[in-house]
């Protein structure tokens, strides 16, 4: 009896030891969730697949709601409890790199043969700080697509293609505003969605937020013209623009009282489930120019504090692989080949989305981006309040240039 017990206990101990040695490393991976798309489950399935391919590495996935993500991540980093890997918003990479919080992945990427060519260029560039690579693009999207209510356009005799020009959008907005209906879903609350949409009008007019030398370009002619255009366009937007977000516009669009809303392609699953007869065009630019969207998306970064950088890199390689990337994102895969398959399977107008992604421009890659964005939000709120655009832009530029 005693012999049997000893054998059983020994076998159990050996099995446990075997299991422990089989998974020598446990990685902590943090991501955020922006939609109710079942992302956590898809990521867990991918992790199971990764673990099968790499039995010595276990991964614990933590999915955090988007509104809390920035604060949770920042607190973890400051408190010395950063995960091994996390998704970083493109606009945070500069700050996290300057803070020394994330690891330089240049050598690992070169060794693995991961290059800019395999990803959307703007997304790859968002991870490069002073020539070093601090992340691998994970998912992307672009602000904005103009989603329109086909029935409202038809009733007003508006050709959807006319929405792609500044002049056409204004005329359409005017024609479709009145009797409790609004032509265009402009919003101007203090949020990054406001910055991204207004930027796209500035980019499409040939303007920029920062010039190549890093100085503010918001008070130069192309930006001021675009802002003046938006100030005028705002008369066809729902009241309350200064406290309205993309979410508020979605509510109006879905109840049929808004003709055109500005969203990334991420909006499509919501519209596909609605009863609205909708379509979309790629942004808006002056006649003869191509609309340029604002890039958005997330990169996978390895934290400097991680003791398992090699294992973390393996996980990043896996998650951005062509056959995996499309299964683990709720935006669009950053891997171009994966994106093509993903869009064909999940989105209307995949070719147009690919085209808009290829034209998109990143937001300023500055370690002080969040402060630049703060000055932009103040400027855009001033513009939507009817302030003198040039004066407001000069003031914003003074604040931005003072950061240098």
């Amino acid at each position: 009896m005693r012999q049997t017990l000893f054998t059983t206990v020994s076998a159990g101990a050996l099995a446990l030891a075997g299991a422990a040695s089989a998974q020598e490393v446990t990685l902590q991976f943090w991501d955020n969730q922006q939609t109710e798309s079942g992302l956590s489950q898809f990521q867990q399935e991918a992790v199971d697949r990764f673990t099968e391919e790499n039995p010595d590495i276990a991964v614990e996935v933590t999915t955090i709601p988007y509104p809390e993500y920035q604060q949770r991540l920042l607190t973890a980093v400051q408190g010395g409890n950063a995960p091994d890997i996390a998704t970083l918003d493109q606009i945070w990479v500069g700050a996290f790199a300057a803070a020394g919080a994330v690891a330089d992945l240049t050598a690992m990427a070169e060794e693995a043969g991961l290059t800019r060519d395999g990803f959307f260029g703007g997304a790859w560039d968002s991870a490069v700080v002073d020539g070093a690579l601090y992340g691998i693009p994970f998912n992307v999207d672009v602000w904005q697509f103009s989603f329109y209510n086909a029935a409202l356009l038809e009733a007003a005799g508006v050709d959807p293609e006319s929405l792609t020009t500044f002049e056409g959008l204004r005329a359409a907005a005017e024609a479709m505003t009145g009797d409790g209906q609004f032509g265009v879903g402009l919003f101007g609350h203090r949020g990054e969605d406001t910055v991204a949409v207004v930027n796209s009008f500035i980019f499409s007019n040939g303007g920029a937020v920062l010039a190549e030398d890093g100085s503010c370009a918001l008070n130069e002619a192309p930006a001021v013209e675009a802002l003046t255009y938006l100030q005028d366009l705002a008369q066809f937007a729902p009241d309350g623009i200064l406290n309205a977000s993309s979410g508020s516009m979605r509510e109006l669009f879905l109840n049929g009282s808004l003709a055109v809303e500005f969203w990334p392609a991420l909006e499509q699953p919501t519209l596909q489930q609605s009863e609205i007869d909708w379509g979309f065009v790629n942004g808006t630019a002056p006649e003869g120019m191509t609309p340029v969207g604002t890039f958005g998306g997330w990169n996978l970064a390895v934290f400097e504090s991680s003791e398992n950088k090699e294992a973390a890199w393996k996980f990043i390689e896996f998650m951005t692989r062509e056959d995996v990337n499309g299964d683990v994102v709720d935006l669009i895969p950053a891997n171009v080949a994966a994106a093509e398959d993903f869009l064909a399977a999940n989105r209307d107008g995949p070719d147009r989305i690919m085209e808009h992604l290829s034209n998109a421009q990143a937001r300023p890659l500055s370690p002080r981006y969040l402060e630049v964005a703060e000055a932009q939000m103040t400027l855009y709120q001033d513009v939507f309040s009817g302030a003198d655009v040039q004066e407001a832009a000069d003031e914003a530029c003074a604040a931005i240039d003072a950061l240098n």
């Binding site: 300057a98 803070a99 609350h189 309350g240 200064l242 406290n243 309205a244």
Partner: protein, 295 residues
């Protein structure tokens, strides 16, 4: 108390005092120290700047906005919350039918979480879909819809209204308890002497509960000055800084822009204002206790 008892007292108190010091006062001291350094997420090595950080913050236009907004917010909420709370307590102190049910219903706003209240009222204030505009137009109080939270002239009043709506049951509860301690015989004597309801209120009820009123006012001053979630969820301090108060500014500067030194400076100013309010509370409370012992 013998010397041994005193030692024993301190031994028993030590764990609690240690925990309070560690989790309450040490972060506060840390904030004060941090406010003398230029620190941000991207500058991991803090640079000592002494009072320069304060000078910079005080000379910033934002500081004036935040300071005066905080004053308007705090006074607005405290005055109306206490007035409404007192009126509600007076009503519920009468022999109304269904008094228990009414009390429970009046308490509803107070038990709702702040974030839920803020989301609910964001919808209510919505210029296109909200109930507030719809009701005002139907009742003839307005002829067209207003964007209450998007207009810098009305946003502060709109958030104050919500905070009062949520907070007045708290004041009401305290006043109701106080009203029930007023000596009935004095009220009856005043009635016999020909005093009407207002005279009885002014000469009998208010003097009898004035220490409770003072304590309640100071307490709501402290709670309101520190309030965060209603303002943040409803306006994020906007539009154009119109509703930015100390807690929202501290959060936005620290967590939104990674500027910890500046956030700490705002935090210290906030702590100083709160310290004054707490001192006021202690003085008022001590006065109330003295009066209580005398009577």
């Amino acid at each position: 108390m013998t010397r041994k008892d005193r030692w024993l007292l301190w031994i028993f108190l030590a764990p609690s005092l240690g925990l309070i010091g560690l989790f309450l006062y040490w972060p506060m001291v840390g904030t004060v120290i941090e406010s003398f350094y230029a620190t941000s997420f991207i500058s991991p090595n803090p640079e000592f700047v002494g009072f320069d950080g304060y000078r910079e913050v005080f000379s910033d236009r934002d500081f004036d906005d935040v300071f005066w907004n905080s004053i308007a917010w705090t006074l607005g909420v405290v005055v109306f919350q206490n007035m409404l709370g007192f009126l509600a307590a007076m009503l519920l102190n009468q022999g109304l039918p269904f008094r228990g049910v009414t009390r429970a219903l009046v308490l509803m706003p107070f038990v709702l979480p702040g974030v839920v209240t803020a989301i609910l009222w964001r919808f209510m204030y919505d210029p296109q879909l909200g109930l507030v505009n719809s009701l005002m137009i139907r009742t003839g109080l307005a002829s067209e819809t207003s964007a209450w939270l998007a207009n810098p002239d009305t946003a502060m009043a709109a958030v104050i209204f919500v905070a009062v709506w949520k907070g007045f049951p708290f004041s009401m509860l305290i006043y109701l308890a106080a009203l029930q301690t007023v000596d009935r015989s004095q009220l009856e004597a005043a009635t016999l002497d020909g005093a009407g309801p207002l005279r009885r209120l002014w000469d009998v009820t208010l003097p009898a509960i004035r220490h409770v009123i003072l304590v309640n006012v100071v307490l709501t001053l402290i709670l309101t000055f520190n309030y965060f979630d209603i303002v943040w969820v409803m306006t994020r301090g906007g539009p154009q800084q119109a509703t930015h108060i100390f807690p929202t500014k501290i959060y936005e500067t620290g967590f939104g822009q990674f500027r910890f030194g500046e956030a700490a400076t705002y935090g210290v100013v906030s702590i100083l204002v709160l310290a004054v309010l707490v001192a006021l509370y202690v003085i008022v409370q001590a006065g109330a206790n003295r009066r209580g012992r005398r009577t």
